[in-house]
């Protein structure tokens, strides 16, 4: 019996909690992609860089606060810096919209043109980020490392395996829950949120109803910049901040949005967790778990791993391909909010 609990603690520590954390980061990222897709009707390839940009601003403010000696122990100072990062990213995103996307909107350019333009924006932003903060790893985490450390857990329960909950993991999961609740409340219960859904559903009828498309576009970018900054910062806190990692994140984020059904916010959230858990389940080494669950004395040679961790990124790619072939509409159908 104790072995089963040990196995569960092991899975919880290396699979469930990391999966929920990574899934929350992907879900927040995929929500941003989905918002742009359903309101502005294009796939925004610059979203990964927007996350990096938001995280970068947050880091710069965090350093400033740390230098001033401001802290909110045991929570990371970055949480205090986050609102500043969000405001800066909103301003930057609106500036990009004014100077780049607005022109193509006015000409009623096709979604493919927008997509290509967004790739251009991605490169420009990527360059800007490396110019400002450099290409290297940045560490900006402070505060308490653990809410429950593995050692404490073992001492409390007397188990052999420890189930640790890191501060960044708890902060990520809780923040994601709060943000998602706020976003859905906004979309479903406020006049402005409903007008966004109406615009995404039927642009023509929205115009006839006197909904101002410029306002809808602006609010969409504000939401997207907010989500991107939060997702980027949480990811950076949990792993570390490295600009080029955010470009790589684009694949699992798009896979999450597409698996869930592009344009559907519920789908984006579900997709985020599907991708995160698939990556972890397929690359997890089950050797120890199996040892706990089998009678003593059985020797297991291999790591009992389905795929090497090097193939992590391939998992989202494979899922993406399977979904596009088998069920292109994703888990939840619909192109509207």
């Amino acid at each position: 019996m104790i072995d089963v609990i040990n196995a569960a603690a092991l899975l919880g520590n290396f699979l469930v909690i990391p999966g929920l954390t990574y899934g929350s980061q992907l879900a927040l990222g995929a929500l941003g992609v989905t918002l742009v897709y359903s309101v502005l009707r294009f796939s925004n390839f610059a979203h990964g860089e927007t996350m990096a940009f938001g995280a970068m601003l947050t880091i710069l403010v965090t350093w400033g606060l740390q230098a001033l000696g401001v802290s909110i122990q045991p929570l990371p100072t970055a949480l205090l810096a986050l609102p500043f990062g969000i405001i800066g990213t909103i301003a930057f995103t609106l500036l990009i919209d004014r100077s780049v996307y607005a022109y193509h909107r006015q000409r009623k350019a096709s979604p493919v043109v927008f997509l290509i333009v967004s790739i251009g924006v991605m490169f420009v932003m990527g360059g800007l980020i490396r110019f400002i903060i450099g290409p290297n790893d940045q560490i900006f985490f402070d505060g308490a490392r653990f809410i429950i450390s593995a050692r404490d857990f073992k001492r409390m329960t007397g188990l052999e395996e420890g189930l640790a909950i890191r501060m960044t993991q708890a902060v990520t999961i809780l923040t994601a829950i709060v943000i998602v609740i706020l976003l859905f409340w906004f979309l479903n219960h406020t006049r402005t949120g409903k007008s966004m859904r109406a615009y995404s559903d039927n642009e023509n009828l929205a115009l006839l109803s006197g909904i101002n498309p410029q306002r809808v576009v602006m609010i969409t970018w504000i939401l997207v910049a907010t989500l991107a900054t939060i997702a980027g910062t949480l990811y950076g806190l949990d792993k570390s901040f490295k600009p080029f990692v955010y470009m790589q994140l684009l694949l699992p984020i798009f896979a999450s949005a597409i698996v869930g059904g592009v344009g559907n916010p519920l789908g984006a959230i579900a997709g985020g967790y599907v991708i995160a858990f698939s990556e972890l389940i397929l690359t997890f080494a089950y050797k120890k778990v199996i040892q706990y669950l089998t009678p003593d004395g059985i020797e297991i040679e291999s790591l009992m791993q389905i795929l090497g961790t090097d193939y992590k990124i391939a998992v989202s790619f494979i899922i993406l391909v399977i979904v596009l072939v088998v069920r292109p509409t994703g888990l939840f159908q619909g192109k509207t909010l």
């Binding site: 007008s195 859904r197 109406a198 559903d201 009828l205 929205a206 006839l208 006197g210 909010l337």
Partner: protein, 234 residues
């Protein structure tokens, strides 16, 4: 001079004109019906009156004012309402949210207006939480009309409100439209069911290839043997 009139309208979607010197109008409390073969330009004429199409010639007058250059949403503010032929509801929004969006430009309390729409179309009250896309064709048309009524328009323009509904539902919808007209609302509508529509019409327009072919009272058009033969199936 009618309350709402599109005078000698000429224009189209691109280089080629669809409408040629076309005139349609309606007075308060009146029902005007536009009939004609498919592709005659009936929907185009409605869009032109509502400002969704640039005019090369002609003008639109509403309540004595020239509104030719106003955008559609500005015309909504002036008191015009429009139910397009297709895609006339927000399918992913609930019935009630559709009505709320119809009143988007209003800043005042809209609960009375919602209650009025529910009085007119009781089934919508029952289904108010359902997404409009899940409703039957007739119920959807009721949502579409209800949405346009939310601004209390002085003129209501309906493009084929009975398209794709059963004869019973059609009679029911016509009854509701008559009821709306009795509130002193001018109604300008396009109809495929020409005979039934002309029966309730004060005024009728027969359009062919973007031109006025016949213009008369509904009664007179029904009595006109040429109109009967060519457009009403005998």
């Amino acid at each position: 001079m009618s309350f709402l009139i599109g005078q000698q309208m000429t224009g189209g979607y691109g280089a080629a004109d669809i409408l040629h010197d076309c005139t349609i109008g309606v007075d308060k409390g009146e029902i005007a019906v536009i009939v004609g073969p498919n592709g005659a330009g009936k929907s185009t004429a409605m869009k032109a009156v509502f400002g969704m199409l640039p005019l090369r010639h002609g003008q639109v007058l509403f309540d004595g004012e020239d509104v030719t250059l106003l955008k559609p949403e500005e015309r909504v503010l002036k008191g015009m309402g429009f139910v397009p032929q297709t895609h006339n509801v927000f399918i992913s929004l609930s019935v009630e949210e559709n009505l709320e969006m119809g009143a988007f430009i209003r800043q005042d309390d809209i609960r009375d207006s919602i209650a009025q729409v529910y009085d007119l179309f009781p089934i919508l009250k029952e289904k108010r939480k359902q997404p409009a896309g899940q409703l039957s064709g007739g119920q959807r048309q009721q949502v579409a009309v209800g949405r346009a009524l939310m601004t209390h328009p002085k003129v209501l323009m309906l493009d084929e409100p009975t398209a794709g509904v059963s004869p019973i539902v059609m009679d029911e919808l016509f009854d509701r439209i008559l009821e709306i007209a009795r509130l002193d609302v001018a109604i300008l509508m396009v109809e495929q069911n020409a005979k039934q529509a002309l029966e309730i019409a004060d005024k009728g327009y027969v359009l062919v290839q973007g031109r006025n072919r016949f213009t008369d009272s509904g009664e007179a058009l029904l009595a006109n043997s040429e109109v009967r033969r060519a457009f009403l199936g005998g």
